[in-house]
């Protein structure tokens, strides 16, 4: 009997030790390691601007031993989920990488990011650095919560110059031109448009541009404001109908909804002469420089603005895309971290080397006064085209999936996918989406 008591005591003791051990893990886990140290943390994205972010922080850390930044990199999709969870738990980084729009607004509403108004008032040169229409994307309810950190990414119509030359045709200026090109390319055995439909978000570029061209930016503004039945606007219905017409006419490559954008299978269609055109974001040019340097260097890659829709109310100079990515400063960071972060935003971000490195990568930073550098760039044609496009645009609309609340954005991409594969009608789309307004 005594022995049994001893063994039970031992097992009880080990259970308690175990429980304590667990509790210890529990308490050490959530404790923010960055809160102990005074250096700010930065979560940045891998991909087109990765090297620029990296070398900027390395140089900054060398020159500013007191304001050292701890930098980490994440892949796009993984980052979007991770950062939200971390910010919600109060464990986010000091520098929060974002797109502006609905997600930034949800951070602001929950009090997770600090406003930069005082900082901008104290340092007017920071504000003057940026192109106003781009800076506007970090403004929520009249206050600035985020500053652009990379390049302007308008969506443009890329085309393969060689293919166009061989066929003796010109890139489309109007929607009718575009529809007229479709049978010509199909007859020649070349797909008119490449599209990575499997990734869903590339589909959205078509809808955003068509709605803007047909009805102007007010149509989407009404949706953003949550006005009743805003998705039933005739411009939305007409844009969706035009998309389905284009799909039915064979405008997109066969099996486009099986193509994923992650590995660049859509751009590959363009530079392997399998597709003639592709509607895509400005970052594709940077990727093309890496994936198909000979295609870019030989000047075969062409780019024009999205065509005009005859009789449409929208200004054909309007642009949609990502004005730029942005840094926000976490409001849960320590005072010391915030101070170092602001110092970096003031002196490190868009330093001369930063801006130059960005231009060298084939991108156009969202700052003023870079005309000379752009003219000297080896990608002069493209960077000047993008710069002009963004500067002259009466409206630079943020990608809808970022501008809308996450719940609406998710439903929109799924429903739009069904439009492209012909499973639902434009009216059904409007009905499904009207149900999400205000969510």
């Amino acid at each position: 009997m005594k022995m049994r008591t001893t063994t039970s005591l031992i097992s009880a003791a080990s259970a308690i030790t175990l429980a304590l051990g667990l509790a210890a893990c529990g308490s050490s886990g959530p404790a923010d390691p960055a809160a102990d140290s005074d250096s700010p943390t930065m979560w940045a994205l891998t991909g087109s601007s990765e090297n620029i972010f990296r070398s900027s922080v390395e140089d900054w850390n060398k020159a500013n031993a007191d304001d050292k930044i701890n930098q980490e990199f994440f892949a796009n999709d993984a980052y979007k989920t991770k950062v939200r969870t971390a910010v919600g738990a109060g464990e986010g980084p000091t520098f929060i990488y974002g797109w502006g729009g609905g997600v930034l607004k949800s951070y602001v509403d929950a009090g997770h990011v600090g406003d930069l108004d005082q900082f901008l008032a104290d340092n007017p040169e920071v504000k003057e650095r940026y192109i106003p229409s781009v800076l506007e994307n970090g403004v929520i309810d009249g206050k600035t919560y985020a500053l652009p950190n990379n390049n302007m990414q308008p969506v443009v119509l890329y085309y393969n110059k060689q293919v166009f030359e061989d066929m003796g045709v010109e890139p489309p200026e109007t929607w009718d031109d575009l529809m007229a090109l479709v049978p010509e390319f199909n007859d020649a055995g070349i797909a008119p448009f490449a599209l990575a439909g499997q990734s869903k978000w590339p589909n959205l570029m078509w809808l955003s541009y068509l709605v803007d061209r047909i009805g102007g930016p007010e149509v989407f503004q009404a949706i953003l404001d949550g006005e009743e039945d805003a998705w039933s606007d005739p411009a939305v219905i007409e844009a969706l109908a035009k998309i389905q017409e284009l799909v039915d006419a064979g405008g997109f490559i066969n099996g486009f909804s099986s193509i994923a954008a992650d590995a660049g299978a859509d751009s590959a269609l363009l530079y392997t002469d399998k597709a003639a055109m592709m509607l895509h974001g400005g970052w594709v040019y940077q990727n093309l420089k890496n994936d198909a340097p000979e295609f870019v260097e030989s000047g075969e890659v062409g780019f024009v603005p999205f065509p005009e829709v005859e009789g449409g109310a929208g200004d054909p100079a309007n642009v949609v895309g990502n004005p730029a990515n942005m840094w926000s400063v976490s409001s849960t960071a320590s005072e010391q971290q915030k101070e170092s972060a602001l110092n970096y935003l003031k002196d490190g971000l868009f330093s001369e080397e930063y801006t130059q490195a960005m231009i060298d990568s084939g991108a156009v930073p969202a700052v003023n006064g870079i005309e000379d550098q752009l003219a000297a760039s080896e990608d002069k044609d493209f960077v000047e085209f993008v710069y002009g496009l963004a500067q002259d645009a009466p409206s630079f609309q943020l990608s809808w999936d970022q501008a809308l609340s996450p719940a609406q954005g998710d439903a929109m991409l799924a429903n739009l996918d069904q439009i492209f594969i012909g499973e639902i009608t434009p009216e059904e789309f409007a009905e499904n989406m009207n149900a999400t307004l205000g969510k």
Partner: protein, 305 residues
């Protein structure tokens, strides 16, 4: 401690046998179960009655999330998709893995070599499998054009009619080896004397399979089917990476719908309600499958062996 135990080692063993191990032994496992399963589950039940976007304050919502989750046509569709994947997976995987299991249970050397090859997919992570198949199924740069077989260049992931079968195929490709392993073990447990007796009675190979192998594998079939059915309630990683639920909602099964509702649409309330539904369905199915095995689980199948 050893000095305490040494004097009467025999008694200790006897005592343990008579009374079973101390109930305290269950404490560590129970503590783990409480902390990592029951507590989170209670948290999910609580969250399902609230409104929370993952960032701001949690507010009481009553039955609103449940109403959203239960009346949403996407949820109904997700249930149907889950059911389809479950049934088709069973229909595809059970016969294949049963036959492969019987085949690899043989002692011939070439079968051992083949068995090792069959088990390779088991070593790969679901994400890797999904990424590989996504690349292979690309209609322009995938296996169709690569092998010069246009028939393989279909709109595999983009057609709502095809994609479900692609998903079921990839799931089967990944999990058949695992179930084969289970069946192989089951078949090897059947005493050889059964087959000898059957041979003396003049039973052919097919008769032996249907009258000895199959009935003897009853519990193996139940175990493997339970894993398949419950597994299809948890398929997430593979489908998330392969199709992300698309095109449209064609492959958005319940666990994926729960994840996307919670972490894409940031509606934790509705996602929690979906989570509770998943748990209830899962427990119900597990119970039914266990019942199928009959209550006399201790009854021997080896009488006369």
């Amino acid at each position: 401690m050893s000095t305490l135990l040494k004097p009467k080692p025999v008694m200790r063993v006897r005592g343990a046998r008579a009374e079973g191990p101390s109930a305290w032994m269950v404490v560590p496992a129970l503590a783990f179960f409480l902390v990592f399963a029951v507590l989170p589950l209670l948290g999910v039940v609580f969250l399902s009655f609230t409104n929370w976007n993952g960032l701001g304050a949690i507010t009481w919502a009553g039955l609103e999330s449940w109403r959203t989750a239960l009346t949403d046509s996407v949820t109904l569709n997700a249930l149907i998709v889950t059911l389809k994947i479950m049934v088709y997976s069973l229909l595809v995987q059970v016969p294949i893995s049963l036959l492969l299991g019987v085949f690899t249970a043989g002692n011939q050397r070439y079968r051992a070599v083949l068995a090792v090859l069959y088990f390779v997919p088991l070593l790969l992570s679901s994400a890797a499998v999904a990424i590989a198949f996504k690349a292979l199924l690309d209609p322009n740069f995938g296996m169709g054009p690569g092998l010069g077989l246009p028939i393989l260049a279909q709109n595999w992931l983009g057609s709502a009619d095809l994609v479900l079968f692609v998903v079921i195929f990839v799931i089967a490709w990944q999990f058949v080896p695992f179930h084969t392993l289970i069946y192989q073990g089951g078949v090897r447990q059947i005493p050889a004397s059964f087959y000898e007796a059957a041979q003396i009675d003049g039973a052919g190979r097919i008769q032996q399979f249907f009258h000895i192998t199959l009935p003897q594998l009853k519990y193996t079939i139940i175990t493997s089917s339970t894993l398949m059915v419950l597994g299809s309630l948890a398929y997430f990683d593979l489908i998330f990476v392969l199709t992300a639920g698309g095109p449209g909602y064609a492959t958005r099964l319940l666990p994926l719908h729960m994840y996307l509702t919670g972490f894409r649409a940031n509606d934790m309330g509705a996602a929690s309600a979906l989570g509770v539904i998943l748990v209830v369905i899962g427990l119900g199915l597990a119970l039914v499958l266990q019942r199928l095995g009959g209550n006399s689980r201790s009854a021997s199948q080896l009488e006369g062996a």
